[in-house]
């Protein structure tokens, strides 16, 4: 049986492409203000913030701005691309 028999898809990052290209504003984390509450991490719909390092994967970040809006200590700013 060949591969096009059944309509099967395989899980991978970037299933819809490099979604970072959709972004108009870019979240920047100011580490000095950060209290590591992890709200940005858990509220990110795209899973692009690393739980340990809080690095943002800009290849896929769509720039929705939830992280900046929810940050309790204004450590994240949205800057124009």
């Amino acid at each position: 049986m060949d591969s096009i028999l059944q309509p099967i898809s395989v899980p991978q990052k970037g299933a819809a492409g490099n979604t970072g290209e959709w972004r108009l504003y870019k979240p920047i984390i100011k580490k000095e203000k950060c209290v590591k509450c992890l709200k940005c991490w858990i509220y990110c719909p795209e899973a692009v913030i690393n739980k340990e390092t809080l690095e943002i994967d800009y290849q896929y970040c769509k720039g929705c701005g939830i992280c900046a809006n929810e940050c309790p200590c204004e450590a994240i700013s949205m800057e124009k691309e």
Binding site: P11, A15, A16, T19, Y43, A47, Y60, G65, N69, M78
Partner: protein, 314 residues
Amino acid sequence: MISTIREMPEEELLLSGCGSCAGCPASLALRIVGKALGKNAVMLLTPSCSVASMGMTPKTAYNWPSMNITFASAGASAAGVSVALDTIKEKKNDTWEKPTVFNWTGDGGTYDIGFQALSAAAERNDDFIHFCYNNEAYVNTGLQRSGATPRYCYTTTTPAGKKETKKNMALLMLEHNVPYIATASVAYPIDLYNKILKAKSIPGFKYIEIFAPCNVGWGFSADKTIEMGRMAVEAGACLLWEAHNGKIVFSKPTEKLLKMKDKKPSIEKYINSQGRFQKTMKDKKLEILMDIQEDIDREIRFMKERSKICYSVN
């Protein structure tokens, strides 16, 4: 059960770079589901935004074995998978752990076209979790009214505002005498996570409704998704509760609201920050706000009374 965000696992089952809109509450909710259920789960999807955004064949953003099914059949399909896994379990050795079967559907696949099959699955007490991410309209097809759309809300099929109130789906499911029902919100991830953990540990039929404010459909900016979810809960437009074996217990944020006597927060701020109401209110703003408030107050009064009745599920 967890009490801090830090306790949630790092592993992601929703992979970055899916096709959902920026700030999508469905993707956000599904991420939490992934953390709570882990890898040993099988997912079924009825047509919804989550299907449109999972990636095109041969790629998918969801790291579970998952199956796209016909719109009306979530209850039946999950039953089919669950029962088939039971037969596989019987043939395999005892150490094989049956994966958690779960449906991922929108309010259309739950409240409306999916209701018959879902009701039957609940009555049969089939072993799976049914998730409904409720964005109060058919947004995938461009914002049409659903059974979950509240009164006075603009949709393309209710351009002058919806005339009917939404149905209390979670309560309808509760009345099927099932082991576990919960309502949750993307704005309260710990509460949501704990409810999923609980559902996972209970055999039989479980229903979890996740309130999911949709910035595209509702008309607010993407970064306000969580804020909107929080406002809805604080104003009582979304009541958080769970019922294990039929006993309704209100979750903390809602419990706080119910205990308030005089200075209950009004829904004004919540309604006014959404485009979907602004379009229909126009010059009758005050009356409409009062009506919406009355819908919410009536629901609260009813649920308060209903929570006093407890039956036990066999």
